[in-house]
Symmetry: C2
């Protein structure tokens, strides 16, 4: 097997390089019928070994048709992401080293590089240095973990609070931990209304900077003040928007997040790190450790290293820090700022086109790289429009719905997206709208 | 950036190939002092982009000294693992495609390949076809998820039961879900004693096939019978040993696991899949969906696909199925059987050497590829011996302790391990013991 590693590796590398070179050409949303891939695969595992080149050739024939191209510069759905080149290659290094981080000694490099890179990112987004961080798989796990800590410190408070626009991970965390979820109404800009926030019986409040639907920004300073008065844990969910804090001119959106007990953001969303890499910072690492560590307090000495398994759910972790390190170095502060600014410029352009065109409407304030909009007409018309746009395969957009009002969403976030790609999205939208 | 992808990729590939070629030469357990890597890295992130080749050259100078070589054939600690060649290269493909599995449409290939490969693995280990599976990051998350489902169906049963040799993930799951953990005493072979098992007030019982300390095998048929009588969820944790069920002659150890409600095993342990890949099967996927899905029952039609995010904690998932697929194909049933049989042979050899040597003792029955043993003398002597062996860097072993008795553990599990490597471990042990 290992004799052919270099040869097989060259094959895999060439496949990925050529995939990235032609990624713009594929239908962005997979056009297969449910079950097609299942039907194309043998129902039983092979008895005898096959060559790795068989796997690679099946990528083209079997796998690619079932791929929705998150790497495409014409992917504008949900939040667009990028597995950047240094991030992709770092995954090869990570797998080659195959570290399993449990205790410090099982991989000193993993433990320390995770501490360092997460701290680099903290500096990049401007959080104070009292915050300590670690990497989770996704923000779902991060919100769950923060809620576990909050509940552990106040076990008789069985309420979790968030705005009606918070991500469904809040619903999931409450359900899994058997808490009541209380949703606070929002104002005309979809922001949590702090005057309606009652945190007194809550173990935790989740405020969001950049909600999933419309990237609304909750008034974190006011929420933090109420949480402090009520002794309630505040988690700030900046899973998507957090990346924007790399740009000083966008920091005002994040005012007050330094008052949070924990803050989450996903480098796998808007910072070029391949899936998965979600960072969770906290000012209260000691409370994370109390909640998660199985080492009793009295057995610890003050200078013990905090093993990362002691502040999170899984015992073992991948060497995810290596890809965060590669991406932060290969882009640098200026490179990341450049991409985020360009995405805001492109989203601004698109927003302008929508505003200037009769029969179209921008439906939510734009703070980052997401534009919410719709065409005059019924929700069903807009729904049909989106379906036709996505069925064309030329671009992929998604939607959201609030107060039963349907909106289209165009999220710029892929590092390879150009102005032409955004213009294409607008052309396809108008073309399909005209033909409806 | 993308212009240099092929060039940077060749660099990364060459680095991994050469790492794997010389992996036997490194001190297996990292010899650095705590903080060494942190001190070698800049305290602040770079402002300007660096080349990827800088990252690669820092691997040698900064990262490698802090690596504990899980890929080394002389790694015999905990449970030895392998990031096999096809698995490593599959991670490159996974990152290149950068899929985010949320709903079926976000990656039909991810969803269906995960269903198919997990079903292939089910067939390989001989579980009945009523079991449906999905991939989690680790067995910690799998046990937590199974316990969440068990608690959701019987919310007034606030007890989780396992043997005193169950993995600490049971302690963690109970803690995180606010359940009482009841540990059942074990017999002379470290097996849960079913006659002492009271499951009546428990939401779930965890039985283990291949405990972490000594690979004991709980009497699953008797445990299952008691669980059925009490209406209690049974989770079988076969995180390490489950791979052995690929060999029909070892299936007797797994008798009764087909009666479990859920079963977990880790292809990232003994099946050559790089970290992380843990499979969770269940006969009650509907109950997983009830516990985890945010889509209310009345909104579902019977033929809806089960989105994988509806049966697990995170909303988004990596395309881990691709590496499982690559490994199952490139080894095939016969290749995996061959490696597991060879590991059992090597462990048997080592066990024989220990038995035949005066002053040494085998301390637990050997069922799989783990040998528990010690040298005559005090626990402190054995502890000192292990420290010297690991400090030599030639091999890396770990230990366990039961009833305050200290044992050394040699776990064979790396695909690259040869008889010479195992013999080296024995030589180093005897050499260090003689010099103490």
């Amino acid at each position: 097997m290992s004799d052919s590693f270099r040869e097989d590796g060259a094959l895999a590398l060439d496949w990925v390089a050529s995939y990235l070179e032609r990624v713009r050409e594929f239908p962005v949303l997979s056009q297969v019928e449910p079950g097609a891939l299942r039907a194309a695969l043998p129902a039983a595992p092979p008895d005898e070994p096959e060559s790795f080149s068989n796997v690679v050739s099946d990528l083209d024939s079997i796998i690619l048709p079932g791929i929705t191209h998150w790497q495409s510069p014409r992917f504008f759905a949900y939040f667009a992401t990028t597995g950047s080149e240094p991030g992709v290659l770092a995954e090869l290094l990570i797998a080659g080293l195959n570290q399993v981080g449990i205790l410090w000694r099982t991989s000193p490099a993993l433990q320390e590089l995770e501490e360092v890179t997460v701290d680099w990112l903290r500096q990049l987004v401007g959080l104070p240095d009292e915050f300590r961080g670690h990497i989770e798989d996704t923000a779902s796990t991060g919100v769950l973990a923060a809620t576990i800590v909050a509940r552990a410190r106040q076990p008789d408070r069985r309420v979790l609070v968030c705005s009606e626009h918070a991500h469904s991970v809040a619903d999931k965390a409450a359900r899994l931990l058997d808490l009541e979820l209380r949703k606070v109404p929002t104002d005309e800009e979809f922001r949590l209304r702090p005057d309606l926030l009652d945190a007194d019986d809550a173990c935790a409040v989740i405020a969001t900077v950049g909600t999933t639907g419309m990237t609304a920004v909750d008034p974190v300073p006011e929420v933090a003040e109420r949480c402090a008065a009520a002794g309630t844990w505040l988690h700030v969910d900046a899973a998507y928007a957090g990346a924007a804090a790399v740009c000083p001119e966008l920091r005002h959106h994040f005012a007050g997040w330094e008052l949070a007990d924990s803050v989450g953001m996903n480098p796998h969303k808007w910072l070029g790190v391949p899936m998965d890499c979600s960072v969770l910072w906290t000012r209260r690492q000691d409370e994370f450790r109390s909640a998660f560590s199985l080492v009793p307090e009295f057995l610890r000495s003050p200078d013990d290293a905090v093993n990362l398994s002691e502040v999170s759910i899984p015992l073992g972790r991948r060497f995810r820090a290596l890809k965060l390190w590669a991406v932060l170095r290969c882009y640098g502060r200026s490179g990341l700022q450049g991409r985020i600014r360009e995405h805001l410029r492109l989203a601004g352009l698109f927003e302008g086109w929508v505003r200037d065109e009769a029969g179209w409407e921008v439906t939510a304030p734009r703070h980052f790289s997401l534009v919410c909009f719709r065409r005059d007409g019924s929700d069903e018309d807009n729904e049909r429009l989106l379906e036709r746009v996505n069925d064309s395969g030329e671009v992929f957009l998604s939607h959201t719905r609030f107060d039963d009002r349907y909106m289209l969403r165009l999220a710029v976030g892929n590092f390879r997206t150009t102005e032409d790609d955004v213009r294409l999205a607008w052309d396809v939208l108008r073309r399909e709208a005209a033909s409806l």
